[in-house]
């Protein structure tokens, strides 16, 4: 049986040492991730210059599932922290030759890697690796199955914090394929912990899991109703393969009911912001006029994603150090 992930990812002194899920982490810790991420941004919200924080550390991008975008932002984050980064095309190498996951990992550890950034199609993969990895090696979950995508959720929190002056008391709608979305799950946990007034999940019944309200979110099948009084509208990407599994009638039908158009957006608060984890399907879940409109912060999210990943990598590396004495500044 697997250990409690919220405990596994914390060092004995409460510092983050792996980042596997937003579930079970304290408000204080999530806020500390946001504060540190903000430290990597200047007053205009742009990334600051490269810092020497993780010089001499080796980060390995371990992507068992394709994702050029997420992999690139982790690569940029590691580079800006002055770490050495190795991208492993794991799909085409070790596993296809029959090596087991643990054998692959032990081999990489023998190369003195300090951190693995893991993306895997199976839920719980990052957790499994964190349980079996050698002490002092940090694991960052870059998305596992339908389970969690915590860095994406935290970059969304940073976006809301910076564009809506905080998360507390905000009404947030998450729209689209909730069933298959690891992003939605991580967002709901983070939003609830950080004090959002209401988290609404919106989509057709076939794409809303039955137990979603157990997480503290409110399910809506009617998009117009869900948009009322919203401060933040987060659109999720609709994966085309869902169409083939007969979960949806057609793209055009989905767009008619759950696509975000200017008319629909007018039902939310006038200063509501529109977010999307990307890549966007124009005309499927979002209209171009909205995606490129003044309320959209979609491109801002990308830069914040690098800052959040820098923060999480620095914190996990800090939590892994052998000497756990409290930090005190030198004079």
């Amino acid at each position: 049986m697997m250990s409690d992930p919220s405990q596994l990812q914390l060092a004995p002194n409460g510092e983050l040492r792996h980042f596997l899920t937003t579930e079970g982490l304290s408000k204080e810790l999530l806020e500390s991730i946001l504060t540190k991420a903000s430290g990597f941004l200047d007053s205009k919200g742009d990334l600051i210059a490269k810092v020497p924080l993780l010089r001499g550390k080796s980060v390995v991008n371990l992507f068992f599932e394709n994702s050029t975008r997420t992999r690139s932002t982790f690569e940029l984050a590691a580079t800006r922290l002055s770490a050495d980064i190795l991208n492993l095309d794991i799909q085409r190498s070790a596993t296809s030759k029959g090596e087991t996951l643990m054998d692959t990992l032990w081999n990489l550890e023998a190369m003195h890697a300090d951190m693995f950034v893991v993306r895997h199609a199976d839920s719980g993969a990052a957790h499994f690796i964190a349980e079996h990895v050698t002490p002092n090696v940090a694991i960052i979950n870059a998305g596992d199955g339908r389970h969690a995508h915590p860095t994406q959720a935290m970059l969304d929190m940073l976006t809301i914090q910076r564009h809506k002056q905080g998360i507390e008391g905000k009404v947030v709608a998450i729209v689209g394929d909730i069933l298959h979305s690891r992003v939605a799950r991580s967002q709901i946990h983070a939003l609830k912990t950080l004090g959002a007034a209401e988290v609404r999940v919106v989509g057709p019944a076939t794409l809303l899991p039955k137990d979603i309200e157990d997480l503290g979110a409110k399910a809506y099948y009617d998009f117009s109703l869900a948009l009322r009084d919203c401060d933040v509208v987060i659109m999720l990407r609709l994966q085309k393969e869902r169409m083939q599994n007969a979960l949806l009638p057609s793209e055009s039908e989905f767009f008619r009911l759950y696509g975000l158009t200017s008319e629909k957006l007018a039902l939310a608060k006038p200063d509501a912001i529109v977010m999307h984890p990307g890549p966007i399907n124009r005309g499927v879940e979002i209209e171009s006029a909205v995606a490129d409109g003044p309320q959209s912060v979609i491109l801002k999210q990308v830069g914040y994603g690098i800052a959040v990943r820098m923060a999480v990598m620095a914190m996990a590396m800090s939590g892994q150090r052998t000497n756990q004495a409290g930090p005190e500044a030198p004079q």
């Binding site: 510092e15 500390s32 504060t35 540190k36 903000s38 430290g39 990597f40 941004l41 200047d42 007053s43 600051i48 210059a49 490269k50 810092v51 020497p52 924080l53 993780l54 620095a314 914190m315 590396m317 800090s318 939590g319 150090r321 000497n323 004495a325 409290g326 930090p327 005190e328 500044a329 030198p330 004079q331």
Partner: protein, 170 residues
Amino acid sequence: MTLPDIKATCTTLAQQLKQHICDNQIDNPIVVGIHTGGVWVAQHLIDEFELPGPLYSVDISFYRDDFNQKGLNPKVQGSSLPDTIEGRDLILIDDVIMSGRTVRAAINELFDYGRPSSITLACLLDVGQRQLPFQPDACGARLALEANQRIKVKGPSPLSLYLKNSDTES
């Protein structure tokens, strides 16, 4: 040991700094305080001793050299610097100089923003025990501490000094 009078110490620092600026014909400098104590001291010099503002700040958390021993500073505040410091004269202000490692980190960070024409270092207190070759150009007071003592500045306003006994390394 008796702590020096804060008012007299600030006055000495301001006088020495003004003298240095005058002697070196520094015109239109950029004042940068090191978080957190250095920012308080710099603000005090601007408010009470007509040091030219606005006040900028550096947070050296991401530039420290003891990450492997002490980890990430839990209180990161971020730096606030002008768009460019290229060719400008900087006045770098800290509360206490001891090992010199903070100053090293701050100067490294400043150079990531450009190549200043000069950097003047002003510290409220110099407690010796240097590990790196940095000496302040202006200093409010010099004092010798016992091995287990640390001196801290409390602020932002009014500024005060207090002694802390610690067995941690410098």
